[in-house]
Symmetry: C2
Subunit: 313 residues, 2 copies
C-alpha cells in the first residue's frame, strides 16, 4: 500500500498523561511527511518507531501551541542526530520567525538548512510536488490563519502486459518506459499497436486530506473531492454548535457532512473536547451522516482499505 | 519536612521514550518552585500529580532546549486552566523575548501577568526573598550563560517552651511573637527573663542547590557551603574529562568533589551522557570521592533525610 497514516496524537488543547496533541506521520509514495507537531511529538515518533532520518518535510496547519510547540525540539534533536540534508517546513507566515527566534536564543548550531515555505494565501495552492506526489493547501476557518493539507499521489505509470508485449519481438526493453507512459507503439511495417493492447491500468493513486482546526467550511469539498482518507476535526457534538462556531471548531455532524459531500472513502475524527470522556457519542453522531467514520487510537496506523494495521508504542 | 524535591526528568540533550529532560519541582517552606522545564515537563508534572495552581515561580538555568523547550507549553496550559495570579520566571537575559515571541505568534490570550526576572550577572545574586525563603543564583560555566540556584530557608522562629512560659503569668499570648523572634522578656518588677529560658531552638532550616549544566567550577563551593541536598550534573566519567571540558560539562568525580568541598549533606547526580547505559559507573566514581551520592529515579521524591520517599507516575 502506498499510503499509510500513523496517528501520533489527536488531543485538543492540553497534552495529557496518556494522549498527545496533534501530530501525524503520513507515508505516501515512499515519502515521510510529518503533519503538525504538538509538544512531545518527537517522543511520539520514537514510540511509533519512526525513522527521524526519513523526515524531510513538515506541514504545520496553524500556530496554536497544541499543533506546533514540539517543532523546535524536533529540529534540535535532528541537529543533535547530525542531519545534513535540508528540512522543509510549510506553515503560516510567521513560522520562520517563531522557530528561528528560539534557535537564536538557544544558540543552536544548525547542521542543516531549514527551508521555510510560509503561507498566507486564502486560496488552495500547490506547495509541494515531485515525480510521485503533490501537496495542496486546504484553506480552513479557525481563530487564526490555518490550512489543512491534501496529499495526492500522481497517476502512476501503466503496467506492462508482458504477455502481450511478448507477441512483438520488435519491442525492446528501452521501449518499456514509453509504453508505461501511455504511448502507442509503431511497428517497422507502419502498423500502430495501441497502448491499451500492450499495457494494463496503473495501480490506484491514493490521497489523504488533513483538516484541523476549522469551523464547518463546505467550500473545501471540491478541493478534497473523492479523497481516500479524510481526517477532520470534530471538537464538539451538535448541541454545542454555537460553541463550535465561537471557538472556530466543527461538530461531529459537520465533519461527517464534509466527508459525505466530498465522497471520501473514510473519515477519521479527532481533536475532541476534553468534556467527552466517552468519544463514542461523537462517533455515533458522525456515523448517522457518514457511515465509514472511525475514532482513531494513538499510534494506530491507517490505510485506505484497513481500519487499523497495527498498534505501535 | 519543609524541603521536598521531585525529579521530573534528568536526561541530557534528547527526550526519550521513558525519560524526560531536566525539570524538578522543589517544595520548600510551603512554596512550589519549578526548576528548569524541558519539553514535556507539563506532562511530567501531571504524572507526578503536582498541582499546577501552586506553581507561581519558575527558575530556568539556561536557554538550551533540554532545559527550556517545555516552558511555553506550560504557560499556555496555565492560561487554558485560567490562572489569574502572576507567574514569575527567572532566567538568562533573552528569556522574555524567547517566550513572548512564541506567545505573540500563537496569539495566546494571557489571563495572567508574566513577570520576567532576566539575569546577566556573573556574580551570585539574590533573586527572590519572602518571609520564609531566599533564592540565590549560582553562576555556572557552560557553553551558554548559565546559573544554578540555591534555595535556602530562612532561620525559623524559635519555639515556645510552653512549660517555662507557664511559670510567668505575666506573659500573654500577644507576647509570643516577640519571644519566637528571640527577644527577652521584662517582668513588671524589672527582672529580665532571657529568651533562652523561655524558648527552644528553632527547627532546622534546609537548603537545596541545583547545578546544571556546568564545567567543574570550584568557586561555587562557598556559595553552596553546607547545603543539605546538592544536585550536580555529571555528564561524563573522568576518562572523558577533556570532552567534559570541551562541551561545558562535569565528570562524576568533579561533581563529587564539589559536594565534598561544600560539605553537602547529600549529592544527587544527573544529566548523564546517553553513552552510559548503566549509570552505576558514574555513581561508583562519585562515591569514591563523596559517599552520600545517589542516582535519582524519575518521579523520585527526595528529602534531606530520606533517599526516596515515594515514586509517583
Amino acid at each position: 500500500m502506498s499510503l499509510k497514516l500513523t496517528i501520533l496524537g489527536f488531543n485538543s488543547a492540553i497534552p495529557k498523561k496518556k494522549s498527545a496533541p496533534t501530530a501525524q506521520l503520513l507515508e505516501i509514495a515512499g515519502r515521510n511527511f510529518l503533519i503538525d507537531c504538538g509538544e512531545g511529538t518527537q517522543v511520539q515518533l520514537r514510540k511509533a518507531k519512526a525513522k527521524f532520518s526519513k523526515i524531510h518535510h513538515i506541514f504545520i496547519s496553524h500556530l496554536h501551541g497544541d499543533h506546533v510547540f514540539g517543532l523546535v525540539g524536533l529540529i534540535s534533536t535532528l541537529q543533535l542526530l547530525g542531519k545534513e540534508t535540508p528540512l522543509y517546513i510549510f506553515g503560516p507566515k510567521g513560522i520562520q520567525d517563531f522557530i528561528m527566534n528560539q534557535l537564536k536564543h538557544t544558540q543552536a548550531r544548525c547542521t542543516f538548512d531549514i527551508v521555510f515555505k510560509e503561507l498566507e494565501s486564502k486560496e488552495s495552492v500547490k506547495v509541494f510536488e515531485d515525480d510521485k506526489v503533490e501537496v495542496f493547501t486546504i484553506p480552513l476557518d479557525h481563530r487564526i490563519y490555518t490550512n489543512g493539507y491534501l496529499f495526492r499521489e500522481k497517476t502512476k505509470p501503466r503496467k506492462l502486459n508482458i504477455q502481450a508485449v511478448g507477441n512483438y519481438p520488435e519491442i525492446e526493453i528501452c521501449d518499456y518506459e514509453n509504453l508505461k507512459r501511455g504511448r502507442d507503439f509503431e511497428l517497422s511495417n507502419g502498423e500502430i499497436i495501441p497502448n491499451e493492447a500492450l499495457t494494463l491500468e496503473p495501480e490506484k493513486s491514493f490521497s489523504y486530506a488533513f483538516c484541523s482546526d476549522t469551523r464547518y467550511k463546505p467550500d473545501i469539498v471540491p478541493i478534497i473531492k473523492d479523497v481516500d482518507i479524510l481526517y477532520h476535526e470534530a471538537t464538539f457534538l451538535s448541541d454545542l454548535q454555537e460553541m463550535a462556531q465561537y471557538t472556530g471548531h466543527s461538530t461531529a455532524r459537520e465533519a461527517a457532512t464534509i466527508a459525505r459531500d466530498a465522497n471520501a472513502g473514510k473519515l477519521i475524527l479527532g481533536h475532541f473536547s476534553n468534556r467527552y470522556k466517552n468519544t463514542n457519542v461523537l462517533l455515533e453522531e458522525a456515523q448517522s451522516v457518514f457511515e465509514n467514520t472511525i475514532i482513531p487510537v494513538q499510534f494506530g496506523v491507517y490505510e485506505p482499505d484497513h481500519e487499523i494495521l497495527k498498534l505501535n508504542s
